[in-house]
Structures are given as C-alpha cells and as structure tokens.
C-alpha cells in the first residue's frame, strides 16, 4: 500500500526545489517512513539543518523545524536536547556541512553521545554553492575548484564517527530505499548518537563535470561502487579504492575489539548531565 507522505509534509511547499532526480528526496521519504515505523509524534520531534541542499529538507516537513547556520545544525540541536531531553531530534546535513564546515561539531557530538540522529546525505560535492570540491570528493574527480582533478584524499564519514564515539553508525545508498529506511529506523531507536550516511547523487554539479550528467548514470555510478561491509572485510586495500562500503559499522551488539571501546561514553549525555545536577543539589 502506498505510504501517506502528505501527513508529514507541508504540501503548499511541494514540489520542492531540488533538481530533477536528486537523491535527497529519496532520503527524505525513507526518513518519513522510518518516523512512521517508530511512531514518533510530530509535536515531539524536531528537525534541524545547517546550510546546503539538505538544509531545505526540514522546510518541507510539517514538524518542529529549524534552519540554522552553516555546519551548526548539531550545536543548535544539542541546545534543544539539553533544554528538553524527552524530545526527538533529527539533524539533516550534507557532506560539506557535516564534515568540513561543521567538522568539529560533528566529532564532538559523536564524542558526547547525545541522543540524536544525524543523517548525512553525501553527494561528494558542495551542490548548492556552485560545485566546489568537498572532503568526500574522490581522488581524480573534477569539481569547480579542482578543474584538473582532485588530489585531496577523502574522509570516510562512518569511520570518523566510529572513531569519535557514535553508538550507531551505518551507511547505505539512495539506490536502496528500504535499507536506508531500516538503518534510519535503527538510528531513531538507538539511545545515543546515531550517524546514518546516505550516499547520494548530484548529477547537476558533480555529474556534469565527470561525464554523468543525468540521474540514471549518476545512480549507476554509485551502484557499481557499492560493496557490502561483510564482503569488504576480506578484500585488499587496493581493491577498495574509491568504493562505497555499505552496512552497519557500529550497532548495539557490535563486534568491536575491547580496546576500541575503552573510552566510549557509558551513558547518554543528557542522562549523565542530569545525574550531575542531582549530585550537586544533594550537597
């Protein structure tokens, strides 16, 4: 049966302004389905975004929404969560927004393990501002600031979040709408900081400079590079160059080594904070 997206959308603002075939629409739909699955009330949920193509997403959702400054979606969301710890927080962010301009906020939000869900839509470029290369542009690919090919190695957002201490980390692509929905749902259910990276297509800015200017070929490019995590474990490092490894990097029952876990947060941030307040008040 068809899903009733109209229930969650500001229909007077639809059709949205994203380019024809943009993957953010797919991610937004997956997120709305996940929200229905976990039965979140619209009044108890807040959507926060920074700047970029993804920052438009909360504008289309009929919930409590906030559009903030570049890269600072996480900081505003932390403020909301500290003031009202019982509310559900979702942050929509792009790869440039989360890992370049808000990179510091990103790793520190992971470290604190505050109960929020960050959805990073990774399209390998700064789409809205004119196609500058971002921290996730693969080596050798062209952008408007790297016209002869990019030389900077790229960030792995999932491994970064894992190292910084997030408690649920997963990656999927826009070609797999159902998997994305499942991962986002698990992120919502996780009590702690969850990062879901959705590898998306930007054929308008990234594709046009790299010979895939339509959504179909852009999506095909992502599909061809996709390797499941279980398969990637047995592969050589050279074969994994510029590949997209998908799967759940950290779950509640993760198979992490003990030393990897040694300085992780034991409690969720707002809980730990309220414990401190109680302790001080007793004195």
């Amino acid at each position: 049966m068809a899903f009733d997206y109209e229930k969650y959308l500001r229909m007077d603002k639809i059709p949205h302004l994203w380019c024809p075939g943009c993957g953010i629409g797919v991610v937004l739909k997956a997120m709305l389905r996940a929200m229905e699955n976990v039965n979140w009330e619209r009044n108890d949920t807040a959507f926060v975004s920074g700047i970029g193509c993804t920052s438009r997403a909360p504008g289309y959702i009929d919930c409590n929404t906030l559009h903030t400054t570049h890269g600072r979606g996480l900081t505003f969301a932390t403020g909301i969560k500290m003031a009202q710890p019982d509310k559900n927080l979702v942050i929509f962010s792009g790869d440039g927004d989360a890992t370049a301009i808000g990179g510091n906020h990103f790793i520190h939000a992971c470290r604190r393990n505050i109960d929020m869900t960050l959805i990073v839509v990774n399209n390998n470029i700064y789409g809205m501002t004119g196609g500058q290369h971002s921290p996730t542009t693969p080596i050798g690919f062209k952008a408007s600031t790297t016209i002869y090919g990019n030389v900077d190695p790229s960030f792995d957002i999932c491994l970064l979040a894992r190292a910084a201490g997030a408690t649920y980390v997963a990656r999927s692509t826009v070609n797999k709408g159902r998997t994305l929905e499942q991962y986002i749902q698990r992120g919502f259910e996780n009590k702690g900081f969850s990062v879901i990276e959705a590898v998306s297509n930007c054929h308008t800015q990234f594709g046009r400079k790299n010979n895939m200017s339509d959504p179909i070929s852009s999506r095909k490019w992502i599909e061809d590079r996709e390797i499941p995590l279980a398969k990637a474990r047995d592969m050589k490092a050279e074969d994994l160059k510029n590949m997209v490894i998908t799967g759940e990097f950290i779950t509640e029952k993760s198979d992490l080594e003990r030393w990897e876990n040694y300085n992780r947060a034991e409690k969720e941030y707002t809980e730990a904070y309220s414990d401190i307040i109680k302790k001080v008040k007793k004195k």
Binding site: A2, G23, V26
Partner: protein, 91 residues
C-alpha cells in the same frame, strides 16, 4: 479491495487487473503530473517497464512520465520508494 481508493488532489490514476505470480490482484497507479520533474528514475527502476518518458511542456526539463502498461505492474513499489518528488502512489 472493496473500499474506494482516495488519491490526493491532482493525482491522475490508472487502474488495472494484474496477475502477480499466480495471484489475481487489482492495482491503482497514481501519478501527480504537476510535481513530476521527468527525472525518469521510475522508468529506470521499474522491472516491468510500466512507465514511459514523454516530452511535455513544463518548467523543469521538458520531460514527463506517464503510465504505459499498467497491467504489467507487480506492485514491487520500487518507483514509489525511489520517486524523489512524492509523485507516485501505488495501491
């Protein structure tokens, strides 16, 4: 399905009797032409070639999709999940 399916305003609907495996079923495909930007993702993901790309006058890229073969639909919902513009509904 005895009850009447209610599509949102502006949706054009195609109805057909389909056979999914050995099961007889009814399908209603709804498409919102005003919001469709003609990205042709539905044409690409559909395993049964239900959708067809046509030229049309609109403010996007001059393309639009229509339902070509509604009776081929197997209700896999791929087009509904992957339409970025909230334009497709399958019942």
């Amino acid at each position: 399905m005895s009850e009447k399916i209610k599509l949102p305003d502006g949706f054009r609907s195609w109805e057909a009797d389909v056979k999914i495996g050995k099961k007889e079923d009814k399908v209603t495909i709804g498409h919102w032409a005003e919001g469709c930007k003609g990205c042709a993702i539905c044409v690409d993901v559909c395993p049964k070639k239900v959708w067809k790309l046509i030229e049309a006058k609109n403010k996007w890229n001059g393309q639009l999709v229509i339902v070509d073969k509604p009776d081929a639909c197997i209700k896999c919902m791929l087009c509904e999940i992957h339409c970025p513009d909230f334009c497709i509904k399958i019942f």
